[in-house]
C-alpha cells in the first residue's frame, strides 16, 4: 500500500483528500503546514507527497525545493487552486501538477501515473 503525505492548510480539503484517497487504497497522512510536513517526512517514509502551493504564510514551492534536495527521489504532485504556476519554472521540479477540482479523478490519475513511473505498487 503506497503511503501518501497530503500537505494543505485547509482542514476541509485535507479531510476530503483523506477520505477520497483512502477509498482508493492509499495510506494517507496529512499535514497543515510546511513545518508539520517536514516533521512527518523525517519521522516516517512516504511514497508520494501531494502539496498545495499557497500554504498559510509559507510557500509550497519552497517546501518542494527542500523535499527535492533532502529526499531525492520522493515524488511530489502539486495540487493547487492556481493554473498559472504550471508554466512557472519553479514548479517544474514537481513530478505532477493538478489544478484543484471537486472532481478528484484527475488527481487520482496523476497519483497513479507518478507512482507507476516510480514503480511503486498501490
Amino acid at each position: 500500500m503506497a503511503k501518501l503525505l497530503i500537505v494543505d492548510d485547509e482542514a476541509n480539503i485535507r479531510l476530503l483528500y483523506a477520505q477520497e484517497l483512502s477509498d482508493e487504497g492509499y495510506e494517507v497522512v496529512t499535514a497543515s503546514s510546511a513545518l508539520e510536513a517536514v516533521e512527518k517526512l523525517e519521522g516516517s517514509s512516504f511514497d508520494l507527497v501531494v502539496l498545495d502551493i499557497k500554504l498559510k504564510n509559507e510557500s509550497g514551492i519552497e517546501l518542494l525545493q527542500r523535499i527535492v534536495k533532502d529526499r531525492h527521489g520522493l515524488p511530489v504532485i502539486l495540487c493547487t487552486a492556481f493554473s498559472c504556476y504550471k508554466d512557472d519554472f519553479s514548479a517544474w521540479l514537481a513530478d505532477g501538477y493538478v489544478v484543484k477540482s471537486s472532481d478528484m479523478q484527475e488527481l487520482k490519475d496523476e497519483i497513479k501515473r507518478v507512482l507507476a513511473k516510480k514503480q511503486i505498487k498501490v
Binding site: E10, N12, I13, L16, Q19, E20, D23, K54, A81, F82, S83, C84, D87, V99, K100, S101, S102, D103, M104
Partner: protein, 540 residues
C-alpha cells in the same frame, strides 16, 4: 616739316587716322592718348621717325630704344593683366564653389558640386574625373564615383547640350545630382571596381600623393617606370592628374582627372587650380561623411530609444499583469477551495448513497452546479491571463503536435480519429504560445462535443499569403448560425455549444493579436474552424 602721322597735332579729323576705330572717337581730340595708344605702333609714325633721323635730329636715334622698351613693357603688362584676370575669375569661381560646399552637409550634393566643378567648361574643364574614397575601416581606398563622357559621341552630345542650356555651375551640379549621379556611378562601375588600393601599399601612386599631400601629374603613363601600367590601362589614358584629398591630416581620398577625350595637355596651372580646389572639397567630403555617420548614429539612437520605450511599456504592462495576477490569484484561492470542498464532499456522499435514496438528486445537483461554477471560474481566470499576451515567434506545427499529444487521452475516449496534415515549410508565427494552444484545445473540445458518436477530426496547417492558416475540421453536426453567433458573445448559450466563454475568448484573444477566427458549418455536415495567424512583427 610735314608729318605723315598725326602725332604732332592736338586735334584731328576722323579721316586723318585710319587706325582709330568705332568707339574710340574720343582719341580724335586727345593728343596724349592718341600718341600712346595708336601713333606709337603706326607705320606712318615710323616713317616720320626715319625722316627725323634723315634730318639729323639726335632724338631720332634714342626714341626707338624708348619705344621698343615701352612696347615690351606694355606686352608684359598685358600678359600679367590676362593672368590676373584669369586668377580673379578662378578665385571668384572657387569662392562660389567653396561657399556652396561650406553650407552643404549632404554627401551627394557635395559630390555633385565637386565633380561638376572639375569637369564642367565653366569650372576646370577637365574631360573626366574619378573620385576614390577611403573606406570606413580605413583599410582601402576605393573607386566611388566617376563623371564625364565615355566616348567622343557622348562628349559631343553632353557638351552641346550644356552649351545650349547655358546653366550656371550651381544649376549644373543640381541637375547632375538629380539625374546623373546614379547613372554616372553605374557608367563607371567597371573602372571604379578595379581601382581598390590598400592604404598600406605605400608605393602606389594614390598613396604617394596622399602621403606627400601634393598632386602628382602623370605623363607618358604607359612607359613610366614608377607607375603600375595596369592603372594606365584601366584609365585608358597616358596623362592624368592624381589629386589627394586631405582634411585635417585625414586621408579622405583622391581625385583622378584627365582629358581622355580631347587629350589636351594638363598644364601646371590646371594642377595648381585643382590643388586649391581640393582643400574645400576634402573638407566638405569629410564633413558630409561625418554627418552621414552621425545620421546613422542618430537613427540607431532613435531605434534604441524606441526599444527603451517599448521596454518601459512592457514593464508598466507587467506591473499591471502582476496586479491582475494578484487579484486573480486571490479569486482562485478564495473560490476554488470552497468549491472543491462542496463538490468533493457531495461526490463522496453521492458515492456512498443508495441508488433509491431520494436525496441523491440533490447531491447530483450540487455536483453538477459546482462543476459548472468551476468551469466558469477557469474561463474567467483564463480570460484575465489573456489580457496580457507574451508574444514571440513560435513553430506552429510544434504547437499543434504538442497540443494533440496533450489531448490524446480525450480523443481516444471520444472515439475520434484525428488526422493531421502539417505543411513542412511554414514561417514562424508571432503568438502567445499558451493562448494559441488554449484556442486550439478549446476548438478541438468544441469539435468533439459536436461529434457525440465519434468521428473524424482533421487538423491542418498551411501557408496563406502573408500568414499561416490553422484549420480544424470535424465531421459532427453543422453548427447553426445561432451557435456561430456564440463566438462573439461570452456566456451566450445554445443547445449545441452550452454556455461559457470558451470560443468567444478564443476569438477575443486572436483578434486582439491581429489574427482571426472563423467558423463555417458545411452543408453536408461538419464544421471548419479557421485560425489565421500573422507571421510579421507588426501584429499586436
Amino acid at each position: 616739316m610735314d608729318w605723315e602721322c598725326c602725332w604732332s597735332r592736338d586735334e584731328i579729323a576722323p579721316e586723318e587716322c585710319p587706325y582709330i576705330g568705332e568707339g574710340e572717337e574720343d582719341l580724335y581730340g586727345s593728343q596724349r592718348r592718341r600718341v600712346v595708344e595708336k601713333c606709337i605702333e603706326c607705320p606712318r609714325f615710323k616713317n616720320d621717325l626715319t625722316r627725323l633721323k634723315g634730318a639729323g635730329d639726335p632724338l631720332a636715334d634714342v626714341l626707338p630704344f624708348i619705344l621698343t622698351e615701352y612696347l615690351e613693357q606694355k606686352a608684359q603688362m598685358g600678359s600679367m593683366l590676362g593672368f590676373l584676370n584669369s586668377r580673379t575669375s578662378e578665385i571668384k569661381f572657387l569662392r562660389e564653389v567653396s561657399l556652396v560646399l561650406q553650407t552643404s552637409i549632404d554627401l551627394d550634393e557635395v559630390l555633385s558640386i565637386a565633380m561638376t566643378a572639375i569637369t564642367a567648361g565653366k569650372g576646370f574643364g577637365m574631360n573626366r574625373a574619378l573620385l576614390l574614397m577611403t573606406d570606413k575601416e580605413r583599410r582601402n581606398i576605393r573607386g566611388y564615383l566617376g563623371v564625364g563622357p565615355k566616348d567622343y559621341e557622348e562628349a559631343w552630345r553632353t557638351w552641346d547640350d550644356i552649351g545650349r542650356r547655358n546653366f550656371t555651375l550651381k544649376e549644373l551640379a543640381k541637375n547632375f545630382q538629380k539625374t546623373g549621379l546614379n547613372s554616372e556611378k553605374e557608367k563607371f562601375h567597371d573602372i571604379l571596381g578595379q581601382l581598390t588600393v590598400p592604404l598600406a601599399d605605400h608605393g602606389h601612386i594614390f598613396n604617394r600623393a596622399l602621403h606627400g599631400k601634393k598632386p602628382i601629374l602623370v605623363e607618358n603613363a604607359l612607359n613610366n617606370p614608377d607607375l603600375d601600367r595596369g592603372l594606365a590601362r584601366i584609365l585608358g589614358v597616358d596623362c592624368f592628374l592624381v589629386m589627394p584629398l586631405i582634411s585635417r591630416n585625414r586621408r579622405i581620398g583622391v581625385i583622378i582627372a584627365d582629358n581622355c577625350i580631347t587629350h589636351k595637355p594638363i598644364t601646371l596651372q590646371d594642377m595648381q587650380s585643382l590643388e586649391t580646389f581640393a582643400f574645400p572639397v576634402a573638407f566638405a567630403l569629410e564633413r558630409a561623411s561625418l554627418y552621414e555617420r552621425l545620421q546613422e548614429e542618430v537613427a540607431k539612437q532613435k531605434a534604441a530609444n524606441l526599444k527603451l520605450r517599448e521596454q518601459q511599456e512592457l514593464i508598466a504592462k507587467m506591473e499591471k499583469m502582476a496586479l491582475v495576477g494578484k487579484i486573480t490569484s486571490s479569486i482562485a484561492h478564495s473560490i476554488r477551495n470552497p468549491l472543491m470542498v462542496i463538490g468533493g464532499f457531495a461526490r463522496t456522499l453521492l458515492k456512498g448513497s443508495a441508488e433509491n435514496d431520494e436525496k441523491r438528486s440533490y447531491l447530483e445537483s450540487i455536483v453538477r452546479e459546482t462543476r459548472q461554477l468551476e468551469d466558469v471560474l477557469s474561463e474567467v481566470l483564463d480570460y484575465s491571463e489573456s489580457l496580457f499576451p507574451v508574444m514571440d515567434f513560435w513553430d506552429l506545427n510544434e504547437l499543434i503536435t504538442t497540443s494533440l499529444v496533450d489531448l490524446a487521452g480525450t480523443l481516444e475516449q471520444s472515439g475520434t480519429i484525428c488526422l493531421s496534415e502539417l505543411s513542412p515549410e511554414l514561417p514562424m508565427v508571432r503568438i502567445d504560445y499558451k493562448q494559441i494552444s488554449y484556442c486550439l484545445k478549446t476548438i478541438i473540445s468544441t469539435a468533439l462535443a459536436s461529434m457525440e458518436q465519434g468521428g473524424e477530426l482533421r487538423v491542418e496547417s498551411l501557408l496563406d499569403g502573408d500568414g499561416v492558416l490553422l484549420r480544424i475540421s470535424d465531421s459532427g453536426n453543422s453548427l447553426s448560425e445561432k451557435a456561430q453567433e456564440a463566438l462573439t458573445a461570452p456566456f451566450f448559450q445554445t443547445q449545441e455549444m452550452g454556455a461559457g466563454v470558451g470560443l468567444s475568448l478564443c476569438k477575443t484573444i486572436l483578434e486582439r493579436q491581429g489574427n482571426s477566427l472563423s467558423i463555417v458549418g458545411r452543408a453536408g455536415g461538419g464544421n471548419v474552424y479557421s485560425i489565421r495567424l500573422l507571421t510579421r512583427k507588426e501584429n499586436l
